[in-house]
């Protein structure tokens, strides 16, 4: 078993620690709140000689991801971090990274998108990038942010996958709050992630290759996209396998979706990220008051675990999906759309309602979550479900 020490620290500091332990060859990065302290800490590790990485300071996130792509195509293990507008500025490169099948690992500190300008937590940034072909993991706590980061390296670099992985943690709530985290010793992490053996490295001069090619009209563009779809579908089993291996090593649980009190639940809330803790807390209170409440937390959003979610929710009477992001003009938020779609094949479909909450870091008070369980309790006993999305706590 690895040596683990328990520390009280922030999500960002343990993500930086995970970066150091995974020993990337190249880290091109640009600061943006609330991600900045990840790359700041990592830069310090480089300056101290505690990690031998090429740390590239670039002039924008567009350049950061471009440099990641170049370095990854060259054959390097590459990591970076961003947030919000920074992720938005990487937009075209996100597609290029996945299309070129480059196993880049990026931490994203979830933050609202302008306008109006706001630096606080919501999932609009990551959800906006959900169709860019990246594997996406979400952390509830600093511990999960640390664990997800380490797992991401192995998932990305798996020969069955070879796709970039985005590992998300909630801005300020997880990135900056002091949390209790178990850190693994360097050797155990190094042993777990192993050495990266790149395919088609540009620096392998004995086997010269050409990256970034053209596949236009009449060419195989369509086939390349299909190969990409097959890879992200395959990644589900790899995420599970790597998660299991990491779980065995660390003693901490991992699943694509994590369920609480779902065995006999009548109503359930589906949620992503730090709010899961609040929901669990309120669900326990509701249970004490007689409502059979359950919680499903989605830890892996891409590939989306449709079958697992449907199985977990198959016998509840009403479901509420909490979205910390909008999909303006759609029937509801991104997690709602995925959940409703996952439940469509069930023999007995239950009402599924959607709440958009916490945009721009607006407070997710316990009484708001309680009001969702109250609504669910009514719906489960026959009150017609409201068409959403409902804005939880908005005036």
């Amino acid at each position: 078993m690895p040596e683990q020490k328990t520390v009280a620290t922030t999500g960002n500091s343990v993500v930086a620690e995970a970066f150091r332990q995974c020993a990337p060859d190249v880290v091109p990065a640009y600061p943006i709140t609330p991600q900045t302290t990840i790359v700041e800490e990592f830069a310090k590790f480089v300056a101290q000689g505690r990690v031998h990485a090429e740390y590239v300071t670039v002039e924008s996130e567009h350049s950061a991801m471009s440099a990641c792509i170049g370095a990854s195509a060259a054959g390097a293990r590459v990591m970076t971090a961003t947030s919000s507008q920074g992720l938005a500025l990487m937009w075209e490169e996100l597609h290029i990274a996945s299309g070129m099948r480059l196993p880049i690992v990026m931490a994203n500190a979830n933050r609202a998108l302008s306008a109006p300008i706001n630096i606080h937590c919501d999932h609009s940034d990551a959800m906006g990038a959900r169709d860019t072909g990246w594997v996406m993991l979400f952390a509830e706590t600093a511990q999960e942010a640390y664990d997800n980061t380490i797992m991401s390296v192995l998932i990305a670099e798996d020969p069955e996958v070879l796709l970039p992985v985005m590992t998300c943690l909630d801005g300020f709530i997880t990135t900056h709050s002091i949390d209790r985290v178990q850190l693994m010793d360097d050797e155990s992490v190094a042993g777990f992630v192993g050495e990266y053996v790149p395919q088609n490295a540009l620096l392998d001069t004995d086997n010269p290759v050409s990256h970034g090619n053209f596949a236009g009209l009449g060419g195989p563009y369509f086939e390349f996209k299909r190969a990409q779809r097959e890879a992200i579908d395959r990644s589900k089993a790899v995420v599970e396998r790597v998660g299991k291996a990491f779980s065995d090593l660390s003693g901490r649980p991992f699943a694509l979706i994590e369920t609480d009190m779902m065995d006999d639940a009548d109503v359930a809330i589906v949620v992503i990220g730090s709010t899961a803790g609040n929901v669990r807390h309120v669900a326990k209170q509701m249970r004490a008051e007689g409502l059979k409440a359950g919680v499903v937390k989605v830890r892996c959003f891409r590939p989306f675990p449709h079958a697992e979610l449907a199985a977990a929710l198959s016998s509840v009477k009403a479901v509420a999906v909490l979205d910390r992001a909008e999909s303006f003009g759609a029937e509801g938020g991104p997690l709602y759309l995925e959940t409703r779609s996952a439940l469509y094949d069930l023999e007995h479909r239950m009402p599924v309602v959607n709440y958009v909450y916490g945009l721009g870091g607006s407070d997710v008070k316990l009484e708001l979550i309680r009001s969702v369980f109250d609504d669910l309790s009514d719906i489960a006993t026959g009150t017609p479900a409201l068409h959403g999305p409902m804005y939880l706590g908005a005036r």
Binding site: G99, L102, H211, N213, P220, E223, F224, A227
Partner: protein, 109 residues
């Protein structure tokens, strides 16, 4: 020609293409015939040409042939000449003229 055999690429399945659209061979631009993009066609008049080789230096597509340190009689590689006219513009003695593709040119059928 490239070492990479793509003769039956039209029948490949998605799983047969190299990862991420990589071409597993270098120097493959030779195989990419771009002459079809040409709308203007260069012609070199051997009588006027002084063999200064400037056109060979400036051609962005390396489409001017040289043999025995002289501009070859079979001057232009029309598989790759895109008809940009740089050679005609730079020739110090105006030995190269550009004409629209499809017109009758001296020495061209």
């Amino acid at each position: 020609m490239s070492k990479w055999d793509i003769s039956d690429m039209g029948s490949w399945k998605s799983s047969q293409f190299p990862l991420g659209a990589v071409i597993p061979d270098a120097g493959n631009s030779r195989d990419y015939v771009t002459g079809g993009w040409r709308s203007m066609r260069p012609y070199r008049d051997p009588e006027t040409c002084t063999q200064c080789l400037l056109c060979w230096i400036v051609c962005p597509d390396s489409a001017i042939r040289v043999a025995d340190e002289k501009i070859a009689d079979d001057t232009f590689n029309f598989d790759h000449c895109k008809g940009c006219g740089v050679c005609a513009n730079e020739c110090p003695v105006e030995a190269i003229t550009m004409s629209p593709e499809g017109c009758e040119l001296p020495g061209v059928k």
